[in-house]
Symmetry: C2
Subunit: 212 residues, 2 copies
Amino acid sequence: MRIAELSRRSGVPVPTIKYYLRENLLPPGEFTSPNQAQYDERHLQRLRLVRALLDLGRLPIAAIKELLAELDRPSPDLHHALGRSLMLACLSKDPVDESEDPEADRMVAELIERRGWQVDEGAPARRRVAEVIAAFTRLGVTEPIDLIDEYAEAVDLIANADLEVVRRSTGPDTIIYNAVVGTVLGDALLAGLRRLAQESASAKMFGATGTD
Amino acid sequence: MRIAELSRRSGVPVPTIKYYLRENLLPPGEFTSPNQAQYDERHLQRLRLVRALLDLGRLPIAAIKELLAELDRPSPDLHHALGRSLMLACLSKDPVDESEDPEADRMVAELIERRGWQVDEGAPARRRVAEVIAAFTRLGVTEPIDLIDEYAEAVDLIANADLEVVRRSTGPDTIIYNAVVGTVLGDALLAGLRRLAQESASAKMFGATGTD
């Protein structure tokens, strides 16, 4: 298909597609003349992935570029390839510009031990969780920190469901692709479901009728 | 304190603080001379909140402005004030530029019915969840959709913990503030914990040693 049809089918404007091509977020089409290229279903699929990571995952362009490179690399060692992909998806949402907080680091380490989680010492998610705990403390909202074990129990259910998806996938390429999409979009899904469950719990707790 | 000290204590550069003042993200200080203003602990606290919503919540400036206005408004009706705040926190992360997907809408409605959730027909989170489901479908990753009931069960645990925090708070102002911070930062906390739990589940499933 020509770029106009790619635009029509994806809903992404032509100038935006050209920008993605320049930024290597999208592989070049096959040139049929110096000014005309043909695109196929793989371009459409890649375009949808870029939009989902941008719009729903809210990842920066640079992070998406690295993630796509990871997706395109042949990966013999599944656990490490998965780890690299998830690290990218994590790091990119986590600008590290806060000061260190040893107390928060200690709380994360203790939580990991209590749960029996098998997590690398250098896992960026440790740092991410510690930063959120530190932010709660700075903002004087400490109750969620007290509830971290209840949160952790809930995410164990989620992570087991996530890995079940991975286990059912066939072939390392599909596994990595599904893990990236499932992790980044999964955060958005969980955030949305959490709002629904919160609204319901609030309606029940504060006695609203739910009819307004 | 002067703006230099506010900058030092918050870690936010002076030009950035001036930008927040111009954008009304931060109330003006008390002017002691035409070129000099004094700030207090409330400014420091507000600055920390803005940074957390920006860096960890990744909310756009416009959304933060609306949320802060909601926080500053006296709120006699708790359920609705909570609803408005959470709606803002939700909408702002959810640019609606996808096409409608009636199938996804139907799946969300059925999920809400299965869970017995009491959720307004017009709740933006319905739309958000439907959009994520539609994106999964477009990307050909349908397994997470099959697991939505397991996700929903996990978020019920989370939402009950969230509302427990709200119940323990005293005074409507504190309740709204805690709900906003807990919801926006809570998403970041859950995303981080999910990565930890995933890494652990992956290590156990794919037999990595966890020592590298």
